[in-house]
């Protein structure tokens, strides 16, 4: 359903915030409300597919379930290789 649209928007935000020079992207943290109208397994599948492509390099999505309808990218984890 609309999970792919949401996943693409998440990746747009990640792309905007991700400083490639700071390291490789490891994790994308997403807060998702119980009333956000999203099927979390479906969203996870879409995100994993998109994040497997450049420039994201196989980062994994990590979901934090919340009450209400919140839906936001909460954090990125980068590995700086040191």
């Amino acid at each position: 359903m609309h999970e792919m649209s949401v996943a693409m928007e998440i990746c747009r935000i990640v792309d905007h915030k991700y400083d490639r020079a700071a390291g490789s992207l490891v994790t994308v943290g997403v807060e998702i409300g119980d009333d956000a109208g999203l099927e979390i397994g479906n969203l996870e599948f879409c995100l994993e597919t998109l994040l497997s492509q450049p420039p994201f390099g196989g980062a994994r999505p990590l979901f934090d379930r919340k009450p209400g309808s919140v839906l936001r990218v909460s954090y990125l984890e980068l590995d700086d290789g040191r």
Binding site: G37, R72, L78, R82
Partner: protein, 233 residues
């Protein structure tokens, strides 16, 4: 390996909602009321709009943006009833309209010559609930052939809606649909829902719908529905 955390805290829908707020401002400035019609496929959105355009054309200045996954069939049906603009958006597989598509669709609408904008969303009771399009209110349709527990199965849509139209009332003698139970279920989800009971086929109940539209689009700005925090982020 040293992992560093970068805080982001950005709403996923912010870009859509920002475009929708811009749309809302433009519509407000032009004095246009916008209704976003949502339902499952086959509830009668297009026929209700056909009847509405035929009945009120010449009385209210109406424009329609209609979304479908494929084909422009709905837009072609609607255009038979009015010389005014019916703008088709073919989503190409997407299950909802988003604010960017409405923004593009509005480029063809003469805002200075419009009182009432209908957005006929893609037939789907799940996804369109999550996308604010700059509308004054969502109108959710469901028909007596669908079962009275639709509001319990799709609560987000019924929470987001300000108005509910129970359609195909002419079929009541032939289906096991309890209108009182349907209304009770809907009010359980959203106590403030206002109802219309219509048959777009026979025309029963449409006078109340037309009067409502006349008040909304032709009346003072105070007649506008209050937008909820959810539908107008």
């Amino acid at each position: 390996m040293a992992v560093r955390t970068i805080e982001v805290r950005e709403r996923v829908m912010e870009r859509n909602d920002g475009i929708a707020r811009d749309i809302r401002q433009r519509l407000d400035a032009a004095g246009i009321v916008a209704l976003n019609l949502v339902s499952s496929p086959g509830s009668g959105k297009t026929l209700l709009l056909e009847r509405t355009l035929a009945a009120l054309d010449g009385e209210l200045r109406m424009a329609v943006i209609t979304g479908d996954v494929q084909t422009q069939n709905d837009a072609e049906r609607l255009a038979r009833h009015t010389n005014r603009l019916v703008q088709a958006v073919v989503t190409g597989g997407a299950c909802h309209l988003d604010a960017r598509q409405i923004d593009t669709g509005l480029e063809a609408v003469n805002l200075d010559d419009t009182d009432l904008l209908f957005i006929e969303n893609v037939g789907n009771l799940v996804c369109p609930a999550s996308w604010y399009l700059g509308e004054d209110a969502k109108v959710v349709l469901f028909s007596v052939t669908e079962g009275e527990d639709k509001p319990l199965k799709y609560p987000k849509m019924f929470r987001e809606a300000t108005y509910a139209v129970i359609n195909k009332m002419d079929l009541l003698p032939y289906v096991p649909f309890d209108v009182d139970r349907a209304v009770a279920f809907a009010r359980e989800v959203n106590p403030h829902l206002q109802f219309f009971f219509t048959s777009a086929t026979t025309g029963s109940g449409l006078d109340a719908w037309y009067d409502f539209l006349r008040d909304l689009a032709g009346g003072p700005s105070g007649a506008r529905p209050a937008r909820t925090a959810r539908s107008a982020p």
